[in-house]
Amino acid sequence: MKAAAFDYVRASSVDEICRLLADAGDEERKIIAGGQTLVPLMAMRMARPDMLIDINDVAELAGINDHGDHVSFGAGTRQRAIERSDIVSDRLPLVAKAVRNVGHQQTRNRGTIGGSIVHGDPSAELPMAALALEATMILRAVSGETEMPIDGFFEAAMVTNIEPEQLLTEIRIPVWQDARIGTGFHETSSRQGDFAIVAAAAQVALAEDGKVTRAAISVGGAAPSPVKLHGLEAALIGKSADGFQDIIALVDEEIDAETDVHATAEYRRRVTRKLVSRAIDDAIAEAGK
């Protein structure tokens, strides 16, 4: 359980990081921020980079800023900073609820939002919340900056659509301007703080009459990648608190549940339906307050 040997560089700017990535040649060069996913992978020799580029000293890669229609997160922003942020609790209540379920104090103190997204762990909570709310990711390379929608970024378990020469610098999460918004987040795991077997996130906006006008729903852990439930979101429009149970079964069509050591596919489907339903319940109740 020891990592293989590697070269270590402490980077001081985004340009330096991009140059190091561009000059990799045959080497595998990897970014290390919080290390909470990468270091275990290295200890288990599932990752064996030739070089680690440490981005923890690059101040421009951390920070949370309110831009009105969205909140931007530097990729290196710690989960702990998100948990403690007033901007997040005021503007992105779904993200605030999600981050409380991420790991433990010792891992949130190091783990970053960017690391959590680029690794694409199927049951990680922040990617789910970012996916539900249709975040935009800003990727940098020597050749320039690319904006990429998060929907489509997650390919498979632990596989994401980032090129080896790209650095994720920022995540922009939209802030809904609707008057009545509510959120819900539910998770089941073997022990408090463990990776989710299944987790569900929902955010809704309601009209004056209590009917849903807008919905964002995603699940994690249910399938090899976090999934945004587009079909259910569309079907939820016009429904109210007691009128959505008949459409919950739509969840089954949108997730490709798998069996693993933690749970069977059938268990995952059942728990997903239940947790999605609870998350929507909470979201509608909160928006109605």
């Binding site: 359980m1 020891k2 040997a5 270590y8 270091v39 790991g103 104090q105 010792q106 408090q192 703080g193």
Partner: protein
């Protein structure tokens, strides 16, 4: 093996070492600095036995390479002792409440609970259980650990009130 020179500040003292970048902070603390109070269990971020303070926040020292800790302040369980080398009030409460059996999880439990008490002088039982949720104990069933943290919190509050 590739080697690099780093200066680490541990429990207030600077030490310069030549180590390979792949050496984790916990291995460096234990094997190079001979600070064996910090324990190492799973080596991949599950058990919490390796918890130490990085600046003022608890982290898992098996999930950080020692080279990354240069420029930061590290505090281990040894650094929690009173200045005269006697047990701190929290360490004392662990002893008094029998909050350990084999002692494997104890350094991590102390770091996790000290961090909680620094932020919250009057934690509820739930707060305590949440704070130590990243630390596994195979022996105690956690109850005495919770009691030891409650005892310390109470004594500190009383101490502050009598002040």
């Amino acid at each position: 093996m590739k080697q690099v020179e780093v200066t680490l500040n541990v429990n207030g003292k600077d030490t310069t070492l030549t180590i390979p970048p792949r050496m984790t902070l916990v291995d460096c603390l234990r094997d190079e600095l001979r600070l064996t109070g910090t324990h190492v269990g799973c080596e991949h971020g599950i058990c919490g036995a390796c918890s130490v303070f990085l600046d003022d926040e608890p982290i898992r020292s098996c999930l950080m390479f020692a080279v990354q800790a240069a420029g930061h302040r590290i505090t281990t369980v040894e650094g929690l002792l009173n200045e005269d080398g006697s047990l701190s009030d929290l360490q004392d409460s662990f002893w008094e409440c029998h909050a350990m059996q084999c002692g494997y999880c104890t350094p991590g439990m102390l770091v996790a609970s000290e961090s909680l008490l620094a932020e919250n002088p009057d934690p509820s039982e739930d707060d305590i259980r949440e704070a130590i949720s990243g630390n596994l104990c195979r022996c105690t069933g956690y109850q005495q650990i919770v009691e030891a943290v409650q005892m310390t919190a109470k004594r500190r509050r009383e101490g502050a009130a009598n002040g």
